[in-house]
Amino acid sequence: AQSVSQHNHHVILSEAASLELGCNYSYGGTVNLFWYVQYPGQHLQLLLKYFSGDPLVKGIKGFEAEFIKSKFSFNLRKPSVQWSDTAEYFCAVRGNNDMRFGAGTRLTVKP
């Protein structure tokens, strides 16, 4: 069965710091990978996704993620975070069946 692991439960950074959120998955077949974000008081929304091609994908608001197949990883990065990036971030994996989400990482950016 598919599973998704997000290593960090809560990350606290100062503005302008670099961000990397870890995501590892367990699945034997072809995967489609997603990062969703939930800003305070808002809906879950898509940041970026990967399903084929260039393993480095760029999303909205300056986020990017790299798919490393050999490591079963899809880590999210941003070179310089802003206070407005404070949110909860969810990694998700979908094979041929249902989407599996990680438990989420709460990011707090201090001004």
């Binding site: 998704v4 489609n32 997603f34 969703y36 809906h43 879950l44 929304q45 898509l46 996704k49 399903f51 969810f90 998700a92 979908r94 094979g95 041929n96 069946n97 249902d98 989407m99 599996r100 989400f101 990680g102 438990a103 989420g104």
Partner: protein, 115 residues
């Protein structure tokens, strides 16, 4: 473009009572999903509809949960009777075709508290 609509936004009930949640997906989206998100966890898929047919309900506790999407548009999720462990946010999402590469668009959720 209007997003996914859900109601009510909040519901408080006592255990053993019943409750229903409603979802209206984005217009033209064939696929509708119900997720359960327990505090501190990621969303867990309960059921997936393609038009008005069920594609996957393997994680739906069918002894107490039911869902329908009669006309292939809006959907209702029901819990009867509710248990304390059903306290969660119930999220509805929709996607255009249901393809594994599709983006799922989420509604605001219904926060259920079972006392």
């Amino acid at each position: 473009e209007a997003g996914v609509a859900q109601s009510p936004r909040y519901k408080i009930i006592e255990k053993r009572q019943s409750v229903a949640f409603w979802c209206n997906p984005i217009s033209g989206h064939a696929t509708l999903y119900w997720y359960q998100q327990i505090l501190g966890q990621g969303p867990k898929l309960l059921i997936q509809f393609q038009n008005n047919g069920v594609v996957d309900d393997s994680q739906l506790p069918k002894d107490r949960f039911s869902a329908e999407r009669l006309k292939g548009v809006d959907s209702t999720l029901k819990i009867q009777p509710a248990k304390l462990e059903d306290s969660a946010v119930y999220l509805c999402a929709s996607s255009l075709t249901g393809s594994p590469t599709d983006t799922q668009y989420f509604g605001p959720g219904t926060r259920l508290t079972v006392l």
